[in-house]
Point group: C2
Chain length 82, copies 2
């Protein structure tokens, strides 16, 4: 079993309105030391198998389901493998 | 400046309907090797300062804004510090 965390973020070129709104709200709370906020989502996925087999699964589900490649990009990180 | 990633997830005791729905969709794609999916969000926050000062800011904005402690919990990780 392998536990993988897939991080999905907006592409650099895409404006992140939620991040801007949260930054403004943080400033309203008085935390002007916060200079930037960006929002993303992540998926903790448990996959049967290890190594290349898992990599293939992750890439396929990212391509076919989890990521909107028009606006988003992704990275993933193996959290646990046994 | 310190870059911190704040991870917000549902508490263990809270059902994650989005994760279940995504798992079902992944199975529909034929990836039965995927056994579990949990969904979370993260905030990449850039804060002026370092160390304890930043920790205090992170804890305050999590408490006051980012996290719904009824259903959610959070962790954070320093990504860059200079």
């Amino acid at each position: 079993m392998t536990k993988v965390r897939i991080f999905v973020t907006y592409k650099q070129s895409v404006f992140d309105p939620q991040g801007e709104t949260i930054k403004d709200a943080i400033h309203t709370l008085g935390h002007d030391e916060v200079k930037d906020v960006q929002v993303g989502k992540f998926f903790d996925v448990t996959v049967e198998g290890t190594g290349k087999v898992v990599e293939k699964t992750i890439e396929e589900i990212a391509d076919q389901l989890l990521v909107n490649f028009n606006m988003e990009t992704y990275k993933y990180q193996v959290m646990e493998e046994d």
